[in-house]
């Protein structure tokens, strides 16, 4: 029974964190455009007119979709169409277990957690692509093709930045990387290039500008998700929220020492670490949201050529740099 508690608790925590981060993204995005954004509480005079409380907007979106009709196109491959979002949600939840939330984790101390999490993260995007292909709509086909092309260039950079951090800390487990940073310095100071590559890769994976290409709503009407509605769309949105918090948590774990400022000996230290973890997540999301706001969308060929020219170069350089840092640290 005690074992079940973290198994249920961690995905729920991840989902709630994802909702909060998504709310922050939308709020900062709106505020940078001179707008107000989703409101947490209604203004005073309008409270009597429109009711007093608001639910967090991203949570409300998912809940609303659960009550809507799920339409499956007649010419879609029904099995793949229905199962792809579910599998991608399961994989996203699986990847949530490998993150350490400021000290709380289930599988972050597994000696091979980096390898597991990279595979699972690739799987989430892959099943979005499969769902789009099964939809039998010209828009989803174009969107899936774009997502597959984008994955090719983005996953390499993601992998290289994760492995840069693993090389420096000489360990393939997330827990090990975090304890290395507790003893030494946060890896963002030791190898800032890897952190930069990771942020750009996160933009690509979560479809934020300038990599909003697979979901470009002006050209292809939501890309792979065009034909989804109702509960299936809610599944996709939830997997997106969980992926947001997983990737942000992964960044904080790998590069900002996962909130482990004080050694996790007493309960007060652990609470402090958790709060620092949340704060760092919010700061990272702030940066992501501002980049999302000030950059227009690349065209897919421009994105691929830009990524190969600059991003891959930077990733290769960051790996070499981390080898050098490891050597220096090993000698010292």
């Amino acid at each position: 029974m005690v074992v079940l508690l973290p198994i249920i608790f961690i995905p729920v925590l991840c989902f709630i964190l994802g909702v909060l981060l998504n709310y922050e993204i939308r709020k900062v995005y709106a505020r940078s455009q001179y707008r107000l954004g989703p409101l947490l509480s209604m203004h005073g005079e309008l409270r009597g007119l429109l009711g007093s409380s608001r639910v967090l907007q991203p949570l409300y979106d998912v809940l609303k979709l659960m009550f809507k009709e799920t339409i499956i196109p007649r010419s879609a491959r029904k099995g793949l169409f229905v199962s792809s979002p579910i599998v991608s949600l399961i994989l996203a939840v699986l990847s949530a277990y490998f993150i350490s939330y400021g000290g709380l984790s289930l599988l972050a101390d597994n000696p091979l957690s980096i390898i597991f999490i990279t595979y699972i993260l690739i799987g989430v995007s892959l099943f979005w692509v499969l769902g789009g292909l099964a939809s039998s709509s010209p828009w989803s086909v174009v969107g899936s093709r774009r997502e597959a092309e984008l994955m090719l260039v983005i996953e390499v950079s993601l992998l290289s930045s994760i492995f840069s951090s693993a090389i420096i800390s000489n360990s393939l487990s997330i827990g090990g990387i975090m304890s290395f940073q507790l003893k030494s310095y946060p890896i963002i100071l030791l190898n800032p290039f890897a952190a930069l590559v990771f942020i750009i890769a996160v933009l690509g994976k979560l479809h934020f500008n300038p990599f909003e290409i697979p979901e470009a709503d002006v050209e292809i009407v939501s890309g792979p998700y065009t034909e989804y509605s109702g509960k299936l769309l809610a599944t996709i949105l939830s997997s997106k929220y969980i992926l947001t918090s997983v990737l942000t948590g992964l960044f904080v774990n790998l590069f900002l020492s996962g909130g482990l400022i004080l050694p996790p000996t007493s309960i007060y230290n652990q609470i402090f670490n958790f709060i620092v973890f949340l704060l760092e997540c919010f700061i990272v999301t702030l940066i992501i949201s501002i980049v999302h706001s000030i950059a227009p969308r690349f065209r897919i060929d421009q994105a691929v050529s830009w990524a190969i020219k600059y991003l891959w170069l930077l990733s290769a350089f960051s790996i070499i740099f981390s080898i050098i840092i490891r050597f220096i640290l090993g000698v010292a």
Partner: protein, 190 residues
């Protein structure tokens, strides 16, 4: 891209959205200019029921109906385009466009502005033909515009007798009552 970044950061604390409806309390609607063309409104004292507005309405929203001795002027706000043509042509300035723009309603029958004018009867045939106020106004305007003494005298004699005749009766009785040429007056030199 750096300049956009600076602008985005500056904008974070200065939302341009203002609360609807643009202010609270006394300042509500203060940003709405006086020249706004909103809901039309009749001034029942000044309206004489001439229906000049009906003929000029550009969308057919203004209609009139004569029934039971009254003339009903109706503005159907569903069709009104708030162009202000009716207010422009009204000879008495009885129709104005207020600045009220929140006229949405759940009830279609609420979206109507109307005015009722009494009609007067023809003294010959007894049918209702024209609004009483319009005939009074014609009298006032005519009397204030005439300058020659003889013209004023003729007008004062004729108007009470012949003004309240409907167009049909006026046509049929014109020769008998000699109101269309006053021939005998012209040749009278006394």
């Amino acid at each position: 891209m750096l300049k956009s970044f600076k602008r985005a950061i500056e904008a974070l604390s200065k939302p341009y959205t203002i609360k609807y409806p643009a202010g609270v309390g006394v300042e509500k609607y203060s940003s709405v200019p006086e020249t706004l063309r909103g809901m039309p409104e009749f001034n029942a004292d000044k309206c004489i029921g001439c229906s000049a507005c009906v003929s000029q309405c550009s969308s057919g929203a203004l209609t009139y109906m004569d029934a039971e001795g009254k003339r009903n002027l109706n503005i159907n706000l569903n069709k009104c385009v708030f162009c202000r043509r009716c207010a422009e042509v009204c000879p008495e300035d009885a129709l104005t466009l207020t600045t009220k723009f929140e006229i949405a309603s759940n009830n279609k029958s609420e979206l109507k502005v109307s005015n009722t004018i009494e009609l007067s009867k023809c003294i010959n045939c007894g049918n209702y033909f024209a609004p009483e106020k319009q005939l009074n106004r014609i009298t006032d305007r005519l009397m204030s515009g005439l300058k020659e003494a003889k013209a004023i005298q003729y007008a004062q004699e004729d108007l009470p007798k012949y003004l309240h005749l409907c167009p049909n009766c006026r046509k049929t009785l014109s020769f008998k009552l000699n109101i269309h040429t006053r021939k005998h007056i012209l040749y009278d030199t006394s």
